[in-house]
Amino acid sequence: MSEIKEDTLNLGGVKFTSRLLTGTGKFASKKLIAPMLKASGSEMITVALRRVDPTADEGNILNYIPKSVTLLPNTSGARTAEEAVRIAMIAREAGCGKFIKIEVITDMQYLLPDNHETLKATTILAKEGFIILPYMMPDITVTKQLYDAGAAAVMPLGSPIGTNRGLEMKPMIKMIIETSNLPVIVDAGIGRPSQAAEAMEMGADAVLVNTAIATSGDPSMAGRAFAMAVKAGRLACLADMADEKQKAQASSPLTGFLRE
């Protein structure tokens, strides 16, 4: 099982051992984030940028994230490519590094991304030297265009943000994994470790889980559970397992026994 030691996720030239990306949204307390990161071993976590709110003194989220963990600022709140680009620039200027999760949403009901604006933002930010992880509607054609535009990976959604419904878009994600030249990170909707494991078994390179971990009764335990599931799914993908069979196949000898 030595090859596993070498098994790393490469995003824009940066290597990661963990294939579980996490998020900082929805935690009951920011103090829960660091222990969750420790328990899950997640090496990359998302943060958002907002106009400061005088009423709520929530303190800087960055202070709650160990320096060893790579920040992945998102462009949430952006409704156009231009807004996404501006948020990305500010985030980098503010010292968050060059990773950026592009998220452009105009559908306020299901919060589904706008693939075309996302593609435009990717094209611009790639020229600016960002390492770009675009959140997207699962779409093979757009996946190819994001590759040409310079994205470092694609992040198709499993199901709408925060629904915990898992891989509702499974068939399309399978086709993307099969045809994509970029790493595929399944983002949004993953609500159970089994769903994360399934994505990895299908050949996904990583998953991003926020809501399911942050809103669980014990985020550290949940984080550890997802980390194990992601690893389990990855190992299964590498262990060359048998396919489904139509007919039953005895695992014990079928010879009648003690019968003349």
Binding site: V47, R50, R51, E58, I61, N63, L208
Partner: protein, 65 residues
């Protein structure tokens, strides 16, 4: 002096960006500042004099997925 802060037109007497942050009672440590679409690093806040019509965004990182 009339300036626009986070999209709202306000009246301010702050001479520089750091004054404004103090005037509003924000914790500088957790802020990112953009003046007229230009991100300003914190060590430059005191030197940056505000002038009438400036458009200022004071931002901070928050939890997000």
């Amino acid at each position: 002096m009339k300036i626009k802060l986070n999209g709202k037109n306000i009246e301010s007497n702050s001479h520089n960006l750091m004054d404004l942050v103090m005037e509003k009672g924000f914790d500088p440590a957790s802020l990112v500042a953009e003046v007229n679409l230009q991100v300003i690093r914190q060590d430059a806040w005191e030197k940056l004099a505000l002038k009438d019509g400036d458009s200022i965004e004071l931002l901070s990182f928050v939890g997000g997925g």
